[in-house]
């Protein structure tokens, strides 16, 4: 029996640790200098970065807490404060690690001077940051991007743009800084370039075999979340794309023997990414997922006003801010474009925006594509809400359909 692993590790992955270390050090320095903001993943970070406000990401910290398998313990700290176990585990992890940073080996963030949330990823972000605000004393700024029923209407655009103007005003007053147009354009350009490079790597997974698997993408998406608009982020995705292209050129896949190609829907269970590697040993690869494809679109413009218009467009139209039809369309499109055999929908108990609707969309996606799917239920950070044996049974049932 060969000791060879069923998947191939990306060489670029080694750079991630350097980036994470660098980001952590810069965040600590920013906190000490009074320039740190905690920022939600769907926030238009190009504006604070251009105004020299350094961003840290509690959601990413939640993922780290999940990946290091201390989720139940850290979420428990929040539950001790009265927060229900039914609540979003990223939020519980954040509240818990903020309350007891010394008891959290990895994932506690330096103290912020502001909390910047955008509700384009879910309505709960405001509640989470309100709790963090009570803990840290940092004020919350909410960029309200109401969910879209269909096309974005003029009054919706005007409302979001007003929100961006209020954001600039808030940052100016809170951090005693200004938004310079040249710097704004430069940061937006860097952000757009990083996203374009990332999108090219994702698209390359249409090839057979797929050069990236789910876990590869979940890990390498970190910089595009945490460092958009920064030079080193763009450099990272240049290196990643080179490796991806090289794999495609040489016909090297993310897993050694690709037999079944599936779509993944939702955030992954960070504490058990080996789930994907186990499936790799059975020839299952995930060339596409709805989660990492959330980062698309470029902020383009020639002056401050047009750049803000671009931000309104991009950040209002993110995947999770659209209705169920748009989500179904996206899944159907990915299944077609990536020539997938089926799909796995991870129903995350603590993420309602992503998960409610999956039971219906599963039926419709199958009707429209003819490929089967399965819904498995669990959580992304809190392993107490994850029954591995039950999930395995359901995935096995799906895989049997391909035999």
């Amino acid at each position: 029996m060969s000791d060879e692993k069923p998947y191939r590790k990306l060489e670029t992955q080694a750079l991630l640790q350097q980036i994470a270390f660098r980001h952590g050090m810069e965040a600590m320095a920013a906190s000490e200098e009074g320039n740190l903001a905690w920022v939600s993943s769907g926030f238009p970070v190009e504006i604070p970065v251009a105004m020299n406000v350094f961003p840290s990401y509690p959601e990413q910290a939640g993922a780290i807490i999940g990946a290091t398998k201390i989720g139940p313990e850290v979420c428990g700290f929040a539950e001790d404060l009265g927060y229900s176990q039914e609540l979003w585990s990223y939020a519980r992890a954040s509240i818990g690690s903020t309350d007891r940073p010394d008891d959290v080996a990895m994932g506690a963030l330096p103290k912020p001077q502001a909390l910047l949330g955008c509700n384009n990823i879910c309505g709960t972000i405001l509640k989470w940051y309100d709790a963090n605000s009570e803990q840290t004393g940092a004020p919350v700024f909410l960029l309200d991007t109401p969910p879209l029923e269909d096309e974005q209407k003029p009054h919706h655009r005007a409302y979001v743009k007003q929100g961006l103007m209020r954001l600039i005003d808030f940052l100016t007053k809170t951090f005693n800084t200004t938004l310079e147009e040249d710097r704004f354009r430069e940061v937006s350009d860097l952000s757009s370039r990083a996203i374009k490079l990332w999108t090219q790597s994702l698209k390359a997974c249409q090839n057979k075999p797929s050069p990236l698997n789910c876990a590869d993408r979940f890990l390498t998406m970190a910089p595009v979340v945490s460092s958009r608009g920064m030079e080193h982020c763009t450099e990272f995705y240049e290196v990643l794309l080179m490796e991806v292209k090289d794999r495609v050129k040489q016909g090297v896949g993310a897993i050694r023997e690709e037999k079944i190609r599936l779509l993944w829907d939702n955030i992954p269970p960070w504490f058990i990414l080996k789930f994907f590697n186990k499936l790799a040993s059975r020839g299952v690869v995930f060339p596409a997922d709805t989660y990492t494809h959330a980062w698309s679109g470029a902020v383009e413009g020639t002056d401050t006003s047009s750049l803000l218009d671009g931000i309104v467009d991009i950040y209002s139209n993110v995947y999770l801010n659209k209705n169920l039809d748009a989500k179904i369309d996206k899944m159907v499109q990915l299944i077609k474009d990536f020539d997938l055999d089926g799909f796995v929908m991870f129903s995350v108990r603590s993420c309602k925006r992503y998960s409610l609707g999956q039971l219906v969309s599963k039926e419709i996606v199958t009707e429209r594509t003819g490929v089967p799917g399965v819904v498995i239920e669990g959580d992304m950070v809190d392993s107490r809400l994850f029954n591995e044996a039950q999930i395995q049974t359901r995935v096995d049932a799906l895989l049997e359909m391909f035999v």
Partner: protein
Amino acid sequence: MSFPEVIEQSNQVLQALVDAGERVLGYIYPHPPHEIFIAHGLKPSLVRTNPTVVGAYEASLQTFSCSLTRNLFSQRTSSSFPLLAGIVFSGNTCDALQNVGDVWRKRFPEDKVLRLTYPVGDAGESSIDFLAMEIKSLSDDLETLYGVPFSESAFKQAAQLLHEIRDVLQLLYSVRLLYPPLISYHTLSNLVGEYLTAPTEDVSERLKGRWMEVAEKLDTNQTNKVDQLRESLLNKDLSGFDSTIESTSLRIAVIGGMIEPSTFSGLVDDIHGITDSTLVFDMLSFGFKTVFTPPVNIDGDPYKESARSILGAHSEPTQEGLPKRVEFLKDVIARLSIQGLIVCEQSFCDPDEFESPSLEKAAEEVGVPTVKLPLDSELSDRARIEGRIQTFLETIDAN
């Protein structure tokens, strides 16, 4: 009246309206533009949970959808839903209502499902402008769906009617806080329930009659105090209310999200230790926060003024403004002599569950004990809930 009886009565009222040829438009989020609905010839009615209907949602919703949405879905699936001409889901208030509205459209394509999207941000005129446009869009949809254009005269009449109803309820809330023996919480909550079922002329007349009965028992000084308190509550500022409330009996308030006052009243009615004067105030979404909505100015643009009125109500946990809500709660406790606070927390309701620790902390900071009640719409754990309330009251009494 028990909670199932409230549902039964509500359904009877709706049936009578339908039999009389009225079209009833259901809403879920407690701050709809009532006046706009009426201006399109529709009767607005709160869609209630029904404790007798359970477990018919599983093919469409996961168990972690909030208990409100699960119950509504179960009612619809099991054909026990009220006779509605349509249902308005809120957008941008919470993730469950946002997504379940979409699921509803897929599962019940024959239903007329509408959406009103609210601003979360406390952004002044910008928020009002946004909501005004959303209300206008909804108004256009109502005209398309029902073939009844917006009527300005009906709108003005509706604004007057809603103003009268809320006005009386606000006075009764204030009386309950100042002179609890004059109106029981049970009576008050049932009157609020009537308003939520259908804000009609009949309801308005009954409310006025009740107010006359209560007002007769107030002297001039007491009437002035009631007026002063009502204004203070409406303005969300109790600093101008300087009267001392003297009471020999225990004064408890209840706060939380999506539970109706009449539901809560039914829950506490039989609890040993609760007297007619104990529960003096609710700060519930379907009670106080709905009742204390400022009137619509009929001289301005109807959509903008409706938006201004809605956003002028006390903010919900789904909106920005937790620090303000916390400060107001502290003020209520301190200035209105509240001695204990019951915090309701609906199962799998993110806004409720996120906010309750802050509310408990605020009460503790001003020295008032609290008890948290995790609830679901079916009150499936009723015995335990009653036990918790009773123990809580005994603890306060002992101190």
